[in-house]
Symmetry: C2
Subunit: 192 residues, 2 copies
């Protein structure tokens, strides 16, 4: 591009200069790509609890950019013994998946020079709560399958969009965390 | 219990009568345990998107208890090309895990007659973003491991708490979805 404006150049909403700098830095020093994300949670009674999310480690340093924590409440609907205080944890997992697939799609589209005009999606997860309630050990405890249907408008061919989505299926961190067996370690803090 | 009060009897914040009714109904008709949870998502530009969560199918019917949808925004920190609009999708996955393990613990404690006085936790997920950025195909794309440290105060022995947490590790739906390979189907809606 030869035009110059006061505004930073953006592609799919990402600042192009920052995007290139990030990729260059990570390519030169791969250890910068190691991140540690965190959430702290407190039980509030029944099926209600709240997570606070603020600091993380990444790009070689502890991040200090968030002056206040984000806070998200989990709840349950009446049929699951709650009062609709908030979405439930299984629904938050679907939100995490939708958000990650969307951001991964738009980011890799930018890297390929594809302009995304709009992207919407619906995520559906099938689960049998006999697992949670230990009513039948043969029933899987978590989701059996999750289906995400996406509607994308972009300045490329349908074949390019299909190829992009197939790539995203294998490169979205939350999608991969669900598709791959990831170890979860559960430790109880002992009283001092 | 022989006492009667105007307030419903509660255990760990759950209404005891409703809890028993739910278990009885599911034991008599196992098909009631089939649930379908959903989220709809819209891209807002760059690494920002928003999910709305309202209806779901469960207990044999479409749920109509939520008169308004819940809405949750995903964002990214500056080091990941965002403006801290909200937590990012990987952090929302940790929130989903913390919420699910907490609710599963408190629910099964109630079923065992264990009173939980307090429960807090910290969840940490390790990830190498070389996977997302396709810089090294040998690097896993999602979390390598997630560790959740919980601090529980309850009216039972340490051994009972350890046994409860081991049970929860295998019976929390979000924990199981992460630990087990769950298929994610990604479909693109074709223009009519």
């Amino acid at each position: 591009m030869t035009t110059q404006t006061a505004e930073p150049q953006r592609f799919n909403g990402f600042e192009v200069k920052a995007m290139k700098q990030t990729i260059d830095a990570l390519t030169q020093d791969r250890t910068l790509a190691r991140f540690e994300f965190r959430a702290a949670n407190e039980w509030l009674g029944g099926g209600m609890n709240r997570s606070t999310i603020q600091g993380f480690f990444g790009a070689g340093a502890e991040d200090r950019s968030r002056t206040l924590p984000f806070a998200y409440t989990s709840g349950e609907p009446p049929v699951l013994l709650g009062s609709n205080e908030s979405a439930n944890p299984g629904e938050f997992l679907l939100h995490a998946l939708a958000g990650c697939v969307t951001t991964t799609t738009v980011l890799h589209a930018a890297a390929r020079g594809i302009t995304i005009r709009s992207m919407t999606s619906v995520v559906v997860g099938d689960i049998d709560l006999q697992g949670l309630l230990a009513l039948d050990p043969a029933v899987p405890v978590g989701y059996r399958q999750i289906t995400m249907k996406v509607d994308i408008k972009a300045d490329c061919s349908d074949a390019e969009l299909d190829e992009l989505l197939e790539f995203v299926h294998g490169h979205s961190p939350v999608c991969d965390t669900i598709r791959r067996p990831v170890p979860v370690v559960l430790e109880r803090l002992k009283a001092a």
